[in-house]
Symmetry: C2
Subunit: 150 residues, 2 copies
Protein backbone atom coordinates (compact mmCIF):
# COMPACT_ATOMS: atom_id res chain seq x y z
CA UNK A 1 0.00 0.00 0.00
CA UNK A 2 2.83 2.39 0.84
CA UNK A 3 4.34 0.69 -2.20
CA UNK A 4 1.47 1.64 -4.34
CA UNK A 5 1.36 5.22 -3.16
CA UNK A 6 5.04 5.46 -3.95
CA UNK A 7 4.34 4.20 -7.45
CA UNK A 8 1.56 6.74 -7.88
CA UNK A 9 3.89 9.51 -6.72
CA UNK A 10 6.50 8.36 -9.20
CA UNK A 11 4.05 8.47 -12.05
CA UNK A 12 3.20 12.07 -11.23
CA UNK A 13 6.89 13.06 -10.92
CA UNK A 14 7.77 11.35 -14.19
CA UNK A 15 5.29 13.60 -15.94
CA UNK A 16 6.72 16.68 -14.25
CA UNK A 17 3.60 17.15 -12.14
CA UNK A 18 3.53 18.31 -8.54
CA UNK A 19 2.63 15.68 -6.01
CA UNK A 20 -0.42 16.81 -4.08
CA UNK A 21 -2.73 14.85 -1.81
CA UNK A 22 -5.77 15.17 -4.10
CA UNK A 23 -3.78 14.05 -7.14
CA UNK A 24 -2.34 11.05 -5.36
CA UNK A 25 -5.79 10.16 -4.10
CA UNK A 26 -7.34 10.37 -7.57
CA UNK A 27 -4.70 8.15 -9.14
CA UNK A 28 -4.67 5.65 -6.30
CA UNK A 29 -8.44 5.44 -6.20
CA UNK A 30 -8.72 5.01 -9.97
CA UNK A 31 -6.11 2.25 -9.90
CA UNK A 32 -8.31 0.39 -7.46
CA UNK A 33 -11.72 1.10 -8.99
CA UNK A 34 -12.39 -1.29 -11.86
CA UNK A 35 -15.69 0.33 -12.80
CA UNK A 36 -14.56 3.48 -14.60
CA UNK A 37 -16.08 5.99 -12.16
CA UNK A 38 -17.27 9.41 -13.26
CA UNK A 39 -16.11 12.74 -11.83
CA UNK A 40 -18.75 12.73 -9.13
CA UNK A 41 -17.94 9.22 -7.92
CA UNK A 42 -14.26 10.12 -7.91
CA UNK A 43 -14.96 13.28 -5.94
CA UNK A 44 -16.93 11.25 -3.41
CA UNK A 45 -14.13 8.72 -3.00
CA UNK A 46 -11.42 11.37 -2.71
CA UNK A 47 -13.56 13.31 -0.29
CA UNK A 48 -14.00 10.24 1.87
CA UNK A 49 -10.27 9.74 2.01
CA UNK A 50 -9.12 13.33 2.49
CA UNK A 51 -12.05 14.80 4.37
CA UNK A 52 -13.08 17.01 1.46
CA UNK A 53 -12.23 18.16 -2.04
CA UNK A 54 -13.82 20.73 -4.26
CA UNK A 55 -15.55 19.60 -7.40
CA UNK A 56 -13.42 22.03 -9.33
CA UNK A 57 -10.20 20.49 -8.01
CA UNK A 58 -11.39 17.08 -9.18
CA UNK A 59 -12.11 18.42 -12.66
CA UNK A 60 -8.74 20.19 -12.77
CA UNK A 61 -6.95 17.04 -11.70
CA UNK A 62 -8.79 14.80 -14.13
CA UNK A 63 -8.00 17.20 -16.92
CA UNK A 64 -4.35 17.54 -15.99
CA UNK A 65 -3.78 13.82 -15.57
CA UNK A 66 -5.59 13.02 -18.78
CA UNK A 67 -3.49 15.57 -20.67
CA UNK A 68 -0.36 14.06 -19.13
CA UNK A 69 -1.35 10.61 -20.36
CA UNK A 70 -1.83 9.19 -16.86
CA UNK A 71 -5.57 8.80 -17.33
CA UNK A 72 -7.90 7.97 -20.14
CA UNK A 73 -11.23 9.68 -20.42
CA UNK A 74 -14.26 7.81 -21.79
CA UNK A 75 -17.22 9.95 -22.82
CA UNK A 76 -20.26 7.77 -23.45
CA UNK A 77 -23.09 9.55 -25.26
CA UNK A 78 -25.72 10.60 -22.76
CA UNK A 79 -23.60 9.90 -19.69
CA UNK A 80 -21.01 11.91 -17.75
CA UNK A 81 -17.38 11.20 -18.60
CA UNK A 82 -15.66 8.23 -16.96
CA UNK A 83 -12.01 7.65 -16.24
CA UNK A 84 -9.49 4.81 -16.06
CA UNK A 85 -5.77 4.40 -15.46
CA UNK A 86 -5.32 1.71 -18.09
CA UNK A 87 -3.58 3.88 -20.66
CA UNK A 88 -0.72 1.78 -21.97
CA UNK A 89 -2.61 -0.58 -24.21
CA UNK A 90 -5.23 -0.49 -26.90
CA UNK A 91 -8.59 -1.56 -25.62
CA UNK A 92 -12.22 -0.64 -26.04
CA UNK A 93 -15.42 -0.40 -24.01
CA UNK A 94 -18.73 -2.06 -23.51
CA UNK A 95 -21.29 0.42 -22.15
CA UNK A 96 -24.79 -0.07 -20.78
CA UNK A 97 -27.27 2.25 -22.47
CA UNK A 98 -29.41 2.31 -19.34
CA UNK A 99 -27.02 2.88 -16.45
CA UNK A 100 -23.74 3.73 -18.19
CA UNK A 101 -21.85 0.86 -16.57
CA UNK A 102 -18.60 0.47 -18.46
CA UNK A 103 -16.46 -2.63 -18.94
CA UNK A 104 -13.15 -3.03 -20.66
CA UNK A 105 -13.04 -5.07 -23.82
CA UNK A 106 -9.76 -6.23 -25.24
CA UNK A 107 -9.18 -5.27 -28.81
CA UNK A 108 -11.07 -7.67 -31.02
CA UNK A 109 -8.94 -7.11 -34.09
CA UNK A 110 -5.16 -7.07 -34.01
CA UNK A 111 -3.16 -4.32 -32.37
CA UNK A 112 -3.25 -0.53 -32.15
CA UNK A 113 -4.47 1.48 -33.92
CA UNK A 114 -6.69 -1.58 -34.36
CA UNK A 115 -8.61 -0.31 -37.37
CA UNK A 116 -7.98 1.70 -40.46
CA UNK A 117 -10.76 3.64 -42.10
CA UNK A 118 -11.27 2.97 -45.76
CA UNK A 119 -11.08 6.67 -46.59
CA UNK A 120 -9.30 9.22 -44.49
CA UNK A 121 -10.54 12.26 -46.43
CA UNK A 122 -7.41 14.25 -45.69
CA UNK A 123 -7.81 13.85 -41.91
CA UNK A 124 -4.82 13.03 -39.74
CA UNK A 125 -6.25 10.20 -37.67
CA UNK A 126 -4.85 9.49 -34.23
CA UNK A 127 -7.37 7.12 -32.69
CA UNK A 128 -9.88 4.47 -33.60
CA UNK A 129 -12.40 4.30 -30.79
CA UNK A 130 -14.68 1.29 -30.58
CA UNK A 131 -17.70 1.29 -28.29
CA UNK A 132 -20.01 -1.64 -27.84
CA UNK A 133 -23.48 -0.58 -26.71
CA UNK A 134 -25.92 -2.81 -24.92
CA UNK A 135 -27.81 -3.50 -21.72
CA UNK A 136 -25.99 -4.83 -18.70
CA UNK A 137 -27.31 -7.88 -16.81
CA UNK A 138 -28.66 -5.77 -13.94
CA UNK A 139 -30.56 -3.33 -16.18
CA UNK A 140 -31.82 -6.16 -18.33
CA UNK A 141 -33.48 -7.69 -15.29
CA UNK A 142 -34.96 -4.37 -14.19
CA UNK A 143 -36.22 -3.71 -17.71
CA UNK A 144 -38.08 -7.00 -18.07
CA UNK A 145 -39.57 -6.64 -14.60
CA UNK A 146 -40.88 -3.20 -15.50
CA UNK A 147 -42.33 -4.39 -18.80
CA UNK A 148 -44.01 -7.42 -17.27
CA UNK A 149 -45.84 -5.26 -14.72
CA UNK A 150 -48.18 -3.00 -16.72
Amino acid sequence: MTNHLHDVTERLRTQGLRVTAPRVAVLDILDRMPDHPDADAIRAAVSRRLGSVSTQAVYNILHTLTDAGLLRRIEPAGHPARYETRVADNHHHLICRACGETRDVDCAIGHAPCLDPSESAGFVIDEAEVTFWGICPACRTTESLTKETP
Copy 2:
Protein backbone atom coordinates in the same frame (compact mmCIF):
# COMPACT_ATOMS: atom_id res chain seq x y z
CA MET B 1 -38.16 18.10 -55.56
CA THR B 2 -41.89 17.56 -55.18
CA ASN B 3 -40.78 13.99 -55.66
CA HIS B 4 -38.45 14.17 -52.75
CA LEU B 5 -40.93 15.85 -50.45
CA HIS B 6 -43.37 13.08 -51.32
CA ASP B 7 -40.76 10.51 -50.36
CA VAL B 8 -40.11 12.30 -47.06
CA THR B 9 -43.84 12.35 -46.34
CA GLU B 10 -44.04 8.64 -47.08
CA ARG B 11 -41.24 7.87 -44.67
CA LEU B 12 -43.08 9.70 -41.90
CA ARG B 13 -46.38 7.95 -42.67
CA THR B 14 -44.74 4.55 -42.80
CA GLN B 15 -43.59 5.07 -39.24
CA GLY B 16 -47.06 6.11 -38.15
CA LEU B 17 -45.96 9.69 -37.62
CA ARG B 18 -48.03 12.77 -38.40
CA VAL B 19 -46.84 14.81 -41.32
CA THR B 20 -46.09 18.33 -40.18
CA ALA B 21 -44.20 21.12 -41.91
CA PRO B 22 -41.34 21.15 -39.39
CA ARG B 23 -40.89 17.38 -39.60
CA VAL B 24 -40.86 17.39 -43.37
CA ALA B 25 -38.40 20.26 -43.34
CA VAL B 26 -36.05 18.48 -40.93
CA LEU B 27 -36.00 15.26 -42.96
CA ASP B 28 -35.68 17.00 -46.29
CA ILE B 29 -32.92 19.28 -45.07
CA LEU B 30 -31.00 16.41 -43.50
CA ASP B 31 -31.27 14.41 -46.71
CA ARG B 32 -29.57 17.28 -48.49
CA MET B 33 -26.96 18.19 -45.88
CA PRO B 34 -23.98 15.88 -46.17
CA ASP B 35 -22.19 17.38 -43.18
CA HIS B 36 -24.13 15.90 -40.26
CA PRO B 37 -25.47 19.18 -38.86
CA ASP B 38 -26.19 19.65 -35.16
CA ALA B 39 -29.51 20.72 -33.66
CA ASP B 40 -28.67 24.38 -33.93
CA ALA B 41 -27.69 24.21 -37.59
CA ILE B 42 -30.84 22.23 -38.30
CA ARG B 43 -32.95 24.77 -36.45
CA ALA B 44 -31.36 27.55 -38.52
CA ALA B 45 -32.07 25.75 -41.79
CA VAL B 46 -35.65 24.88 -40.87
CA SER B 47 -36.21 28.40 -39.65
CA ARG B 48 -34.95 29.80 -42.94
CA ARG B 49 -37.37 27.61 -44.84
CA LEU B 50 -40.48 28.00 -42.68
CA GLY B 51 -39.99 31.45 -41.27
CA SER B 52 -39.38 30.20 -37.75
CA VAL B 53 -39.26 27.14 -35.50
CA SER B 54 -38.76 26.83 -31.79
CA THR B 55 -35.64 25.17 -30.55
CA GLN B 56 -37.83 22.84 -28.52
CA ALA B 57 -39.71 21.70 -31.62
CA VAL B 58 -36.44 20.85 -33.30
CA TYR B 59 -35.34 18.78 -30.31
CA ASN B 60 -38.71 17.05 -30.17
CA ILE B 61 -38.57 16.24 -33.85
CA LEU B 62 -35.00 15.00 -33.77
CA HIS B 63 -35.86 12.79 -30.83
CA THR B 64 -39.02 11.42 -32.40
CA LEU B 65 -37.44 10.74 -35.77
CA THR B 66 -34.42 9.12 -34.17
CA ASP B 67 -36.65 6.87 -32.08
CA ALA B 68 -38.61 5.97 -35.20
CA GLY B 69 -35.42 4.94 -36.96
CA LEU B 70 -35.62 7.70 -39.56
CA LEU B 71 -32.56 9.47 -38.21
CA ARG B 72 -29.32 8.47 -36.63
CA ARG B 73 -27.82 10.53 -33.87
CA ILE B 74 -24.06 10.85 -33.55
CA GLU B 75 -22.78 12.19 -30.23
CA PRO B 76 -19.12 13.03 -30.48
CA ALA B 77 -17.42 13.60 -27.12
CA GLY B 78 -17.12 17.31 -26.48
CA HIS B 79 -19.43 18.36 -29.31
CA PRO B 80 -23.19 18.77 -29.63
CA ALA B 81 -25.03 15.84 -31.18
CA ARG B 82 -25.17 15.57 -34.96
CA TYR B 83 -27.73 13.87 -37.17
CA GLU B 84 -27.93 12.02 -40.46
CA THR B 85 -30.59 10.24 -42.49
CA ARG B 86 -28.32 7.38 -43.54
CA VAL B 87 -29.80 4.74 -41.29
CA ALA B 88 -30.14 1.65 -43.44
CA ASP B 89 -26.54 0.54 -43.52
CA ASN B 90 -23.68 -0.04 -41.19
CA HIS B 91 -21.16 2.74 -41.33
CA HIS B 92 -18.93 4.69 -39.00
CA HIS B 93 -17.58 8.20 -38.54
CA LEU B 94 -14.45 10.21 -38.81
CA ILE B 95 -14.59 13.25 -36.55
CA CYS B 96 -12.34 16.30 -36.23
CA ARG B 97 -11.27 16.85 -32.63
CA ALA B 98 -10.98 20.58 -33.24
CA CYS B 99 -14.15 21.58 -35.09
CA GLY B 100 -16.29 18.46 -34.86
CA GLU B 101 -16.62 18.07 -38.61
CA THR B 102 -17.99 14.61 -39.27
CA ARG B 103 -17.53 12.40 -42.32
CA ASP B 104 -18.99 9.03 -43.08
CA VAL B 105 -16.63 6.10 -43.23
CA ASP B 106 -17.75 2.85 -44.76
CA CYS B 107 -17.34 -0.13 -42.53
CA ALA B 108 -13.74 -1.28 -42.67
CA ILE B 109 -14.46 -4.84 -41.63
CA GLY B 110 -17.27 -6.90 -43.14
CA HIS B 111 -20.91 -6.21 -42.45
CA ALA B 112 -23.09 -5.32 -39.47
CA PRO B 113 -22.62 -5.67 -36.58
CA CYS B 114 -19.09 -5.30 -37.94
CA LEU B 115 -17.28 -6.29 -34.76
CA ASP B 116 -17.69 -8.72 -31.94
CA PRO B 117 -16.23 -8.02 -28.54
CA SER B 118 -14.05 -10.75 -27.13
CA GLU B 119 -16.04 -10.81 -23.90
CA SER B 120 -19.63 -9.71 -23.61
CA ALA B 121 -19.80 -9.93 -19.79
CA GLY B 122 -23.47 -10.80 -19.82
CA PHE B 123 -24.40 -7.68 -21.77
CA VAL B 124 -26.91 -7.84 -24.60
CA ILE B 125 -25.01 -5.92 -27.26
CA ASP B 126 -26.93 -4.16 -30.01
CA GLU B 127 -24.36 -1.91 -31.63
CA ALA B 128 -20.67 -1.68 -32.31
CA GLU B 129 -19.83 1.98 -32.80
CA VAL B 130 -16.54 2.91 -34.38
CA THR B 131 -15.28 6.47 -34.31
CA PHE B 132 -12.08 7.64 -35.95
CA TRP B 133 -10.67 10.74 -34.31
CA GLY B 134 -8.34 13.17 -35.99
CA ILE B 135 -7.83 16.65 -37.32
CA CYS B 136 -9.53 17.74 -40.52
CA PRO B 137 -7.56 19.41 -43.31
CA ALA B 138 -8.92 22.88 -42.48
CA CYS B 139 -8.10 22.68 -38.76
CA ARG B 140 -4.72 21.18 -39.49
CA THR B 141 -3.82 24.27 -41.49
CA THR B 142 -5.10 26.63 -38.81
CA GLU B 143 -3.23 24.69 -36.13
CA SER B 144 0.16 24.86 -37.81
CA LEU B 145 -0.32 28.56 -38.58
CA THR B 146 -1.03 29.26 -34.91
CA LYS B 147 1.97 27.24 -33.73
CA GLU B 148 4.36 28.88 -36.17
CA THR B 149 3.43 32.37 -34.96
CA PRO B 150 4.52 32.56 -31.28
